[in-house]
C-alpha cells in the first residue's frame, strides 16, 4: 500500500509520457462529449444512454469547480483536495500537506492559485483541513455537499477527481469513473501508527500519484470520500485497479476537531481485542488484556468478556473491530455491548488516545525516546525565502495544535454563541444557589455558596451534610472530590461559575476548543434508556484548566446551550459529570434549574435549584 502524493522522484521522462497519454485520452472523451452535435452516430444511440451521459456530465460540471490542486508555495503541485464550505475550507490528505508546511497554495479550476493555510490535521487518519483565502474578502468559494458514506454499496458508480501527476497546469481536474469495489475496508497503518485507513472505501476508479487528498463522489455529486491510497506491488506506483478513499463519515467525526486547529488523535479502547479460537469455524471477539487505568476497565470491562458490538456495530472479526474503532477521535464516548456468562451488558466507554501520550494541557511535546519526532507540518525551512504569504497571518504555532489561530477562532465563536444565552460578566462575585436535592430515596435542602471575592476562593455546600472546600488551596484529591460520591461537585460548580463570569481569562492553564464529541444526558426521571445510543447529543467541546483541575464543557451544537460539564480531579479517575436541565431565565439570563450529578456509572443526585443569588458584596 502506498500513498498517492505526487512523487517528486518520478522520472521526468516517464511523467511526461504518462502526461501525453492522458492528454490523448482527454481528446477521446471530448469526442464523446461532442455527441450533441448533429452526427450520424447520435441517432443510433438509445435515448436513455444519452440521458445518463448527460446526467453524468452535469454532475461533473457541478462539482468540478470545488476540486482543489494542493500546491507548495510557488505553485508546485503536491496533491489534490476539495472545498467543503463557501468560506474556503477544503479537505485533503495529511500526507499531502506534510511536505508543504502550514503555509501553502491551492489552485482551483478557475485557473487561480490561492494562498492557503493548514487548519487541522489528523495524522493517523491521513486527513487535513486547509483554508483557502479568497482573492476578494468575503467572496464565496464553490463547494460540494457531503454525502453519507454508510450508504455506499459495492458496485456503486463513483467519480474521482484531482490532479494526478500534477498534470493540469491550469488546475482543471482530471475525472476518472469507476465502481466501488468494497466498503468498510481496513488497511493497516503505514508506519508508526500513522496513515491507518479504517472503514475505507475501496475503488477501482483510477487514482494515481497526485490524486491524494482529492474527492470521491457518488453519482449525485456528493462527497463520499477522500482518495489517498492504493494497493500497488510489482507494477509500480500507478493505478493497479485497487484504490482506497477515507470515508466521509469518518471525517465527519473529526471535522469539529479539524476546524478547531487540532492535531487530532484517534482512539483505542485500552484493551486488546482478540479473536477467540482462530481455528473455529466462526470467530468471536474477546477481550484479552486490559489497561487498569482505562475507562473501559473502570466501566467494568474485564478479560474474557465477549465483545458483541461497538458503537452500534456488531463485531465478528478483527478487521471489523479495527474499522469501527478507527473512525472515532480520542476521548469520544461510545456504547459497547459485551457478553459475560450469557449476561449481556451495555456500557458507555470513554476512548483513550492511540498515539503515545505526549501532550498534557498544551505543554511542549516530548519526542519519543529513540525515535525521531513524528513529522508535523512545521514551517518548512526553505533555503530560498518565499515571499511572505498573506496566509501567514492565519497561522499561529502552538505545541499540540496544528494551528492555534483556528482554535482561538472557533473557541471565541463558541463562547460568543454561548453568551447569547446570558452574559454573566457583570455578575462576577459571590453566588448562592439554593434549592433541594434528591439522592435515591433521600431528599433535603440544598445550598451552595460560591465565595470568590476573598483572598482565597471558598465553596460551601449543604447537601445532607455541610461541606467546605478551598478549591485552589486543597491538593488532597479525596477532599477535592467531596461531597463523597459526587466526584467533586463543589469543584465543578466553582468552575462553572468561573466559566460564566470570567470566561477564557479565568482559565490560565488552558482554554481551548476541543472539537466535537457526543454527549449522553440520561433521562432525568431516572428511567433506563432502551439503548445508550438514543441518548446521544452532538456537542462542541471546550476544554479548560484552572489551578490543577481540567474541565470539559459540552455545548449542544444545535443551540450552543451548555448541556453538561465534566470536572477531573485527576485524569486517571472518573470525573464529576453535571448535566444541565430545565433552563429558565434569571434576570434575562438562562440558567439550569435542575442539575443531574453523575459519577462513574451512577447518578449521585438530582439538584433542583429554586434560587440563584448574585451578591455584589460578600453575603
Amino acid at each position: 500500500m502506498t500513498r498517492l502524493a505526487v512523487c517528486t522522484k518520478l522520472k521526468r521522462g516517464k511523467a511526461q509520457w504518462i502526461g501525453w497519454a492522458a492528454i490523448a485520452l482527454t481528446g477521446g472523451i471530448c469526442g464523446a462529449i461532442g455527441l450533441s452535435s448533429p452526427n450520424s452516430w447520435a441517432t443510433e444511440v438509445d435515448q436513455i444512454v444519452l440521458q445518463a451521459q448527460a446526467e453524468r456530465i452535469a454532475v461533473i460540471r457541478k462539482v468540478a469547480p470545488a476540486v482543489v490542486a494542493v500546491c507548495r508555495q510557488g505553485g508546485q503541485g503536491v496533491g489534490s483536495g476539495v472545498l467543503i464550505s463557501p468560506e474556503g475550507y477544503a479537505l485533503t490528505n495529511f500526507h499531502v500537506v506534510q511536505p508543504t508546511g502550514p503555509i501553502l497554495q491551492a489552485g482551483l479550476p478557475d485557473g487561480v492559485l490561492y494562498d492557503a493555510v493548514v487548519v487541522g490535521i489528523d495524522r493517523v487518519g491521513d486527513v487535513a483541513l486547509i483554508k483557502l483565502l479568497p482573492k476578494q474578502e468575503g467572496k464565496p468559494f464553490p463547494y460540494v455537499p457531503m454525502g453519507d458514506s454508510d450508504k455506499v454499496r459495492i458496485g456503486d458508480w463513483s467519480l474521482a477527481m484531482g490532479n494526478p501527476f500534477s498534470l493540469a497546469l491550469d488546475f482543471t481536474p482530471t475525472v476518472t469513473y469507476g465502481i466501488v469495489s468494497g466498503t468498510n475496508r481496513y488497511q493497516p497503518p503505514e508506519g508508526r501508527g500513522l496513515l491507518e485507513y479504517t472503514d475505507c472505501i475501496q475503488i477501482e476508479t483510477s487514482i494515481n500519484p497526485g490524486n491524494s487528498g482529492g474527492p470521491l463522489f457518488n453519482m449525485q455529486g456528493e462527497l463520499i470520500g477522500i482518495n489517498g491510497r492504493g494497493s500497488f506491488e510489482k507494477r509500480g506506483r500507478v493505478n493497479s485497479g485497487v484504490g482506497y478513499a477515507i470515508s466521509i463519515n469518518q471525517i465527519k467525526n473529526f471535522l469539529g476537531h479539524l476546524h478547531a486547529g487540532l492535531d487530532v488523535d484517534h482512539a483505542t479502547l485500552g484493551a486488546i481485542v482478540q479473536t477467540a479460537g482462530d481455528d473455529a469455524p466462526l470467530s468471536q471477539m474477546v477481550i484479552g488484556q486490559i489497561l487498569e487505568e482505562s475507562d473501559a476497565y473502570r466501566r467494568g470491562l474485564r478479560p474474557g468478556d465477549q465483545l458483541v458490538s461497538f458503537a452500534g456495530r456488531v463485531i465478528t472479526s478483527t478487521n471489523q473491530y479495527k474499522n469501527i474503532l478507527g473512525i472515532f477521535p480520542k476521548e469520544w464516548r461510545v456504547p459497547i455491548v459485551v457478553r459475560r456468562n450469557n449476561e449481556r451488558m451495555e456500557m458507555l466507554v470513554r476512548l483513550m488516545g492511540s498515539l503515545p501520550q505526549s501532550k498534557e494541557g498544551g505543554q511542549v511535546k516530548q519526542p519519543e525516546s529513540g525515535k525521531p519526532p513524528v513529522p508535523v507540518p512545521v514551517p518548512a525551512k526553505e533555503p530560498k525565502s518565499m515571499p511572505a504569504s498573506p496566509a501567514a497571518q492565519f497561522y499561529k504555532p502552538k505545541a499540540g495544535y496544528a494551528n492555534w489561530y483556528f482554535n482561538e477562532l472557533e473557541r471565541d465563536k463558541l463562547l460568543t454563541a454561548f453568551r447569547q444565552h446570558g452574559d454573566f460578566a457583570a455578575l462576577a462575585g459571590n453566588w448562592t444557589l439554593q434549592g433541594t436535592y434528591q439522592r435515591g430515596e433521600q431528599k433535603g435542602p440544598f445550598r451552595c455558596d460560591l465565595l470568590v471575592q476573598g483572598e482565597e476562593p471558598l465553596v460551601k455546600m449543604v447537601l445532607n451534610a455541610s461541606y467546605e472546600l478551598a478549591p485552589l488551596k486543597t491538593s488532597d484529591p479525596a477532599l477535592l472530590r467531596e461531597p463523597i460520591g459526587s466526584g467533586g461537585l463543589m469543584l465543578a460548580l466553582y468552575h462553572y461559575q468561573r466559566l460564566l463570569t470570567i470566561g477564557p481569562k479565568g482559565f490560565e492553564g488552558e482554554c481551548s476548543h476541543a472539537g466535537h464529541e457526543p454527549c449522553y444526558p440520561f433521562p432525568l426521571d431516572g428511567s433506563v434508556p432502551a439503548s445508550l445510543a438514543e441518548l446521544r447529543v452532538d456537542c462542541a467541546v471546550l476544554r479548560t484548566k484552572h489551578g490543577a483541575t481540567e474541565c470539559k464543557w459540552y455545548f449542544n451544537r444545535k443551540d450552543n446551550r451548555l448541556l453538561a460539564f465534566e470536572v477531573y480531579v485527576t485524569r486517571d479517575q472518573d470525573p464529576c459529570e453535571v448535566y444541565c436541565h430545565d433552563y429558565k431565565a434569571v434576570d434575562g439570563r438562562w440558567l439550569p434549574h435542575r442539575l443531574e450529578v453523575r459519577h462513574g456509572d451512577r447518578r449521585y443526585a438530582v439538584i433542583s435549584i429554586e434560587q440563584y443569588q448574585f451578591h455584589k458584596d460578600k453575603p
Partner: protein
C-alpha cells in the same frame, strides 16, 4: 435490476467515440444492479489460504464453488501445496479443504471442503450456493466489447465474512494464451478472455469473471507476463476452455516390445470439474516444454525481451555449475562447443537438444573486451516451481477413488 439491456462498449471505428449502453444504470437516481450481482456471486466464492507468504509467492487466493457439497475450482498455483489448506466462506466460516485433483494443462485445481467426520466422497451436507459450470459452459461466451465484472480476493483485502473485491471492465480480446511466469512458459495455451480492468493482482487468481447478470464466464488467472510484449496480462480462463494435447505414451506391441506412441487427448474444464467431482478425472501427463530442460547450468540471463536477446548473463545461481565455472554477470555467451550463440533462445535450445546432466560443455564468453574459455559441467536441475500436488487424503479416504497426481518427470 431485471430487464436491463445487455450493455457493452461500442467502439466507433473512425471516430473513437465511446458510447455507453447501460440503460439507465448511470442515471443518478437509478438503482444499481452491480450490488445485487456482486452479493449473489460473493456467496459462491471462497477465500483460499495456503502455502506461500515468502519471496512474492502469495499465500492467499480465491476459489469458485462448483457444487453444493463444497467442491471448489481454482488455479493450480503453489498456494495449494500444503496439507493445511483453509477456506473462508462468504458468511465468515473458516473451513479446511483438500486438493482432489490438478490439471496443469488447464491450470486448474479442484478442491473440496473437508467436513469433520466426513469422507471426501461422502455427502458433506453443506448445501452451498454454487456455480453450475456445465450450464455456464453452454451459454455463449462473452463477445469482445462486452462488459464484465471480476470478483476476487485481490491483495487479500477481505477476510472471513468480508465481501470480495468487485471490478468492472470490458472484454478486450478472446485469444490464445501466450504467457510466461518468470522464465517458465505457461502450461495453458488455450483461449482466454483478456480484459481492460486490472484484474490479475496478487490473490485474484481463482476469482470469477462474470457477465453483467452474474453468470460465470471464466476463472481469473494468475499474474503472468505476456511472452510477446512482456506486459502484465489481465486474463481469465473461460468456462468453455478446452485444449488438445499430444501425449507420447509407451505402448507394448504383441511381442512385448515397448515403443512410444503419440496420442491426442482432448480435455476441457467442464470435464475436469465433472469427473473431478466424481473422483474420476485423470490428469494428462506429458513432459512439459519448459525453458531450461536438458542439463542444468544455473545461468540467469537478462530478461528475454527481444526476438534475439543476446545471451548476456544477468546472474548465476549460487552453487550452480555456472557459479562453479566462474561465470559472472555481464558475461556474453558467444560460443558453446564451437557453435555460435546468437540469442538466449538459441543457447537454451542448444542446451535442451544436446545436453543432459553430467556433461561438460565448453563456453566461449566475452568478458569486457576479451574472450574467455570456460568449462562447465552440467548438473541435474534443482526442484523448480511445480504444480502443486493433491493433498494426501485423510486416512479414512484411502478407499475413495481420488486421482493420484501427475507423475513427476
Amino acid at each position: 435490476m431485471k430487464g436491463t439491456p445487455i450493455s457493452r462498449w461500442l467502439l466507433g471505428s473512425g471516430l473513437g467515440v465511446v458510447l455507453l449502453g447501460v440503460g439507465g444504470v448511470l442515471s443518478a437516481s437509478a438503482a444499481d444492479p452491480f450490488h445485487e450481482v456482486a452479493e449473489k456471486a460473493n456467496r459462491k466464492l471462497v477465500k483460499i489460504f495456503g502455502a506461500g507468504g515468502f519471496s512474492r509467492l502469495n499465500n492467499f487466493g480465491t476459489g469458485i464453488i462448483v457444487s453444493p457439497e463444497g467442491h471448489i475450482l481454482t488455479v493450480a498455483s503453489q498456494l495449494l501445496d500444503t496439507p493445511d489448506l483453509v477456506v473462508h466462506l462468504y458468511d465468515g466460516q473458516r473451513l479446511r479443504a483438500q486438493v482432489l485433483v490438478i490439471e496443469p494443462e488447464l491450470d486448474a485445481a479442484l478442491l473440496k471442503i473437508r467436513v469433520e467426520g466426513k469422507r471426501p466422497d461422502e455427502p458433506a451436507g453443506l448445501e452451498l450456493d454454487y456455480f453450475d459450470i456445465e450450464a455456464a459452459a453452454q451459454r455463449p461466451r462473452a463477445e469482445v466489447g462486452d462488459w464484465v465484472l471480476a470478483l476476487s480476493n485481490t491483495f487479500e483485502i477481505a477476510l472471513r465474512d468480508e465481501p470480495l473485491s468487485l471490478q468492472r471492465g470490458v472484454v478486450m480480446a478472446y485469444t490464445k494464451m501466450a504467457g510466461r511466469r518468470g522464465i517458465f512458459e505457461f502450461p495453458y495455451t488455450g483461449e482466454v478472455y483478456i480484459v481492460d480492468a486490472i484484474t490479475n493482482n496478487p490473490g485474484a487468481a481463482g476469482g470469477a469473471l462474470l457477465d453483467r447478470k452474474g453468470n460465470l464466464l471464466g476463472i481469473i488467472g494468475r499474474e503472468l507476463r505476456n511472452t510477446l510484449s512482456d506486459t502484465w496480462m489481465n486474463y481469465a480462463i473461460p468456462v468453455q476452455a478446452a485444449v488438445e494435447i499430444k501425449v507420447r505414451e509407451p505402448v507394448k506391441d504383441k511381442e512385448g516390445r515397448v515403443s512410444e506412441q503419440e496420442r491426442t487427448v482432448h480435455i476441457s474444464l467442464v470435464e475436469f470439474v465433472k469427473k473431478g467431482v466424481r473422483g474420476e478425472y485423470k490428469p494428462v501427463s506429458r513432459p512439459q516444454t519448459v525453458v531450461g530442460e536438458g542439463g542444468w547450468h544455473g545461468i540467469i540471463f537478462v530478461p528475454n525481451v527481444l526476438e534475439r536477446t543476446p545471451a548476456y548473463v544477468e546472474d548465476v545461481v549460487p552453487g550452480s555449475p555456472a557459479a562453479k565455472a566462474g561465470l559472472r554477470p555481464d558475461d556474453l555467451i558467444s560460443f558453446v562447443d564451437g557453435e555460435p550463440i546468437v540469442s538466449i533462445k538459441a543457447f537454451q535450445d542448444w542446451i535442451r537438444k544436446n545436453t543432459r546432466p553430467g556433461m561438460t560443455i565448453r563456453l566461449e564468453v566475452r568478458r569486457g573486451e576479451a574472450l574467455q574459455t570456460v568449462e562447465l559441467t552440467l548438473a541435474s536441475p534443482p526442484p523448480r516451481p511445480q504444480p502443486p500436488r493433491p493433498t494426501p487424503a485423510p486416512p479414512k479416504a484411502a478407499d475413495a477413488k481420488t486421482e493420484t497426481p501427475a507423475p513427476k518427470k
